[in-house]
Symmetry: C2
Subunit: 340 residues, 2 copies
DNA sequence: CTGAAAGCGCTAACAC
DNA sequence: GTGTTAGCGCTTTCAG
């Protein structure tokens, strides 16, 4: 309840002076400044952020806006909530290290209908957002390119000025992963794809094909199986695959995501086969699911924590007026594990 | 950028009238009210929350404050980030359904040293928080009982007025789970405990013992194994257990958490045994890890989503001045799965 | 029922 | 260097 007025009275100065002392102004004597800071601290003063924003009219705050329609069951999600949460933590860490505040808000497609992206930002005094989980059909997704409010997205592109995307080089990552698989002598690759025309699927498929080509190999059409990113679909399709195919050649199943790979894991186990011995298996994402199986599944660690960190960093840069690249690739790591 | 003044001008009324029209006042004619709302909508007006707070002096906002020191590696965590995130989503859902805003903030032990809990709430105009992940050594944890700012915690108790805890009846849940295990004819129970003196461990242990007693059985001292809640420790201890023990009796390993159970799963697999056939296995929490193994692990679904939902509901009730129970149990579900 | 005006806590000119 | 004051956008008396 202590206001700037109270501090002023206690310190025997005017409110203006207190404001100057507390906001890194230079036109104030070191002495009074220190004294005021001292007084403010002992009184437990902290500024009312709302009033501050009102007065400055400058929006400084950055925040995370995440969309989630909560209609999904867990396994319908592409990689689960852990991946997202790590991004959150990464962003939090950056803000923490730089002594800034970060507010996180949730939105849904439904709620977006009530209020525009710009309205939302204005209401909350937000200078920029990290957007996560927006659907391409979402109002905010469509408004983003035109908005004056800065925005950094993770894992997908958005057009418009001051809009930056943090991504992984999917093609390259999948290429490297596939090469490591082929080095182990695998003769046949089965790719559990997501959806046919999704951007990320195309890129990862391209990576696989490139690696195979280098080894003078090909990906059979019937060895590209769609799963819609769903664990249970992957499981069912691999069940079927294992019933219909004899593993004459040394075979590896490569999942478009870790979840899909776990689905395959279950099917392989049910068939009484040994992962890593009778058949190889890889995933993509590096979420913990890939570690919970026995043996653990070889995968690409996407580093969502680092993605969140970078997103926060880039966003603060933009807000400060720096120019940054339109697309920023975060490094990945290939986790070599006994499933191959 | 539209302000209340703009709307007033456009509608040909005073700002006061606009304010009344937009805030469910009764002393205003239906007609002008509707007209103003109409104008506000077409102008895309939305109020500046900061100014609103300043003016009313009433704190209405509720928010989630989550602490995480980010020093942990994933597997050191008790149940992973998914559990927490689901709580978040539950709270978001409640707020959404009731058309209220929810801001989420992150804190750390370090950051808490800079600013008291009350200061934080005041700064952000927060009437109440849902606190999650606070360490018992944290400043905020210690300040909570004395604070005037309402607070609901999840999964642990806090003293003080207007402090409510949302919990699971651990004893009862573990009792029921154990009974279901014993019904299947298991003759020996091995309990992978967490830490000796943790409250939750005591409760769950009690539940097991009660069930065993009903069946005229006992828990051998050497069959209570500490894991510190860590998957890798559980794995190592079960490795050792399986080397040293012959499974003459039909044995089930019960984990204090799903993570611990997954550790056991890996050890069992490594030993070449079949989960659910050669040895039984259960977990606790109901996180997806319990579903990723083959076969899936029987467990207690704690319903973190519902916990978050309840937390938000209870908190808004408290803020509105309603009296609520000091402790609220959220129902759990036993997931019967082939690991038993 | 509606308008006018004070004031919430703070910053940023503008004086001195 | 420091005090004074207008004003940020909004709500809420108080008149009328």
């Amino acid at each position: 309840m202590t206001t700037i007025k109270d501090v002023a009275k206690e310190a025997g100065v005017s409110v203006g002076t207190v404001s100057r002392a507390l906001n890194e102004y230079t036109d104030i004597s070191e002495e009074t400044k220190n004294r005021i800071i001292q007084v403010a601290n002992t009184m437990g003063y902290s500024p009312n952020l709302g009033a501050k924003n009102l007065s400055t009219k400058k929006k400084n705050g950055i925040s995370i806006l995440f969309s989630d329609n909560m209609e999904f069951s867990e396994m319908d999600d592409e990689r689960g909530q852990e991946y997202f949460f790590k991004q959150l933590l990464g962003a939090c860490r950056f803000m923490e290290e730089n002594d800034m505040e970060l507010a996180i808000y949730h939105t849904t497609s439904k709620r977006q209908k009530l209020k525009s992206y710009d309205q939302f930002c204005k209401e909350h005094g937000i200078a920029g957002t990290i957007c996560y989980g927006l659907f391409t059909t979402d109002r905010y997704y469509k408004e983003l390119p035109e908005s004056k409010c800065h925005c950094v997205t993770v894992d997908y592109d958005v057009a418009g000025t001051n809009k930056v995307a943090i991504i992984t080089d999917d093609m390259q990552a999948m290429y490297e992963l596939t090469k490591k698989v082929l080095e182990k002598g695998y003769e046949r690759i089965v790719f559990l794809n997501g959806k046919k025309n999704t951007e990320v699927c195309k890129k990862r498929l391209k990576g696989i094909k490139r690696a195979l080509k280098e080894y003078g190999m090909n990906l059979n059409n019937e060895d590209v199986i769609l799963t819609d990113f769903k664990m249970n679909q992957a499981e069912a399709k691999v069940d079927k695959f294992l019933q219909e195919n004899r593993l004459d050649q040394k075979t590896a199943i490569m999942g478009i995501t870790d979840f899909v790979a776990v689905g395959a894991y279950k099917a392989i186990m049910r068939a009484g086969l040994r992962v890593g011995q009778d058949i190889g298996l890889t995933g993509f994402d590096g979420i913990s699911a890939s570690y919970f199986t026995f043996p653990a599944i070889m995968t690409v660690q996407q580093n969502p924590m680092e993605k969140g960190y970078m997103a926060a960093k880039v966003l603060t840069d933009i807000v400060k007026g720096k120019t940054v690249d339109k697309e920023i690739c975060v490094p990945y790591t290939i986790l070599e594990r006994p499933s191959i």
